[in-house]
Symmetry: C2
DNA sequence: TAGTCTATGTCAAATATTTCACATTTCATT
DNA sequence: AATGAAATGTGAAATATTTGACATAGACTA
């Protein structure tokens, strides 16, 4: 029996969420190395740069297969590409942003997403002052156009950058329209069907943990 | 011997980071309950709402002392306030934002921070087109004014919403000026002295884990 | 080509985290 | 006032995660 939202490799092995969370960081460091024309790296060298244990790097990577070579280490470009594939960055992932305020615009302006295959193809808002404007070539549409837009475009992800008061309702509507993945910036927990994936970015929670660490010293 | 960056209660007990990360979510749910005039709640009821185990809630809270009463449960307002104290939300935490682009402005506009005691008292940028403008009553200053500003104001936290290429250098300068806590939105790992606290918000890493879950189904 | 050295992949041990289970306390009802 | 039900706080068990250790494959040198 497959549990809800479980994540498995081709061999049907369950990968721990903590491992998955670390992959993008490996990917970033490997990208840096690649940019600096580094050809190969050992888990020991990488562990020193990243301030983690070499053992953890090897264990993490071995969840997905043997990418290294004994006595040699890892080929940077190969490992970079393999992790990219694991993360699904070898696909174009079309994104719509719901809420074209500062945060929505900030996401649309972020080049880092583009360069990793995340393509923002539309911003949506209710505010007539925003509708029709363009952010880095991406148009802001009336949210009433969303249904039609989703019919005509292959959208993988909806980013929710709107007030919490509206997020739950809009998310439900989007799920009904077939959106299966949400990147949620609103400070609520969306309650959606089991097969829908939600990644939360709760900024207030983030700064509260920072505050905790400041005041507990 | 106290390890670097360890976080302890008054009794000198080490609190696990995973517990700390969950506290703001409890705080949010309790705030909702409070708003809805709920007087008391049991760990069981709360666990159902939050989709965690009751046992985890009780274990988490007991790290900080007994806030509940057997046979009764937890008083919502009391528990809300106690968690707020644990998180340091009973203080005003002054924040400066370095980088007044969309993301910096989005943070300045976010009312949720205000209402939890986080007060944004200045935005800083190098862009002359931004300098002098005002976001929700907060002025954008020339970054050259930063040193003077920090001398005259009690700033707890610097939010870094600037390009990765500049973040490392600016963070180092701010640390030299005495800033002890950074909320880092740039996609780099800051390398700062051990006593400096860094909370990272790596948005690209967040969406990559979302992508992973989409493509691994 | 042989020998030495390096560094992976992996098993096992050590830690950390979560869940279970229950004694005890308190609430609520009769 | 007595009884039953509810729910905490807390040890202990069960899981999960991280670290350590090393046999072995393969790189590199001479």
């Amino acid at each position: 029996m497959t549990e809800k939202n479980e994540v498995r490799t081709e061999e049907n092995k369950v990968i721990s969420p903590v491992v998955i969370k670390r992959l993008p960081r490996y990917y970033r460091y490997l990208g840096e190395l690649l940019k600096n024309d580094v050809i190969r790296i050992s888990s020991k060298e990488l562990s020193k740069k990243m301030n983690v244990t070499a053992s953890q790097i090897r264990q993490d990577l071995n969840n997905f297969g043997g990418f290294g070579q004994q006595g040699y280490g890892y080929n940077v470009e190969y490992l970079y590409n393999e992790i990219g594939k694991i993360l699904g960055l070898d696909h174009i992932n079309n994104i719509v942003i719901i809420g074209a305020g500062n945060l929505g615009q900030a996401l649309a302006n972020n080049q880092e997403f583009d360069s990793n295959g995340f393509k923002i193809i539309g911003l949506f808002d209710v505010n007539p002052r925003l509708i029709g404007m363009t952010v880095r070539g991406v148009e802001v549409y009336d949210i009433d156009m969303l249904e039609e837009f989703l019919r005509e475009n292959d959208v993988m992800i909806a980013a929710l950058t709107l007030p919490a008061s509206k997020a739950t309702k809009v998310a439900g509507e989007l799920a009904d329209l077939g959106i299966k993945a949400f990147w949620n910036f609103a400070p609520v927990d969306l309650n959606l069907p089991e097969d829908v994936i939600v990644e939360n970015v709760h900024l207030a929670e983030s700064i509260m943990t920072l505050s905790y660490r400041i005041h507990s010293k």
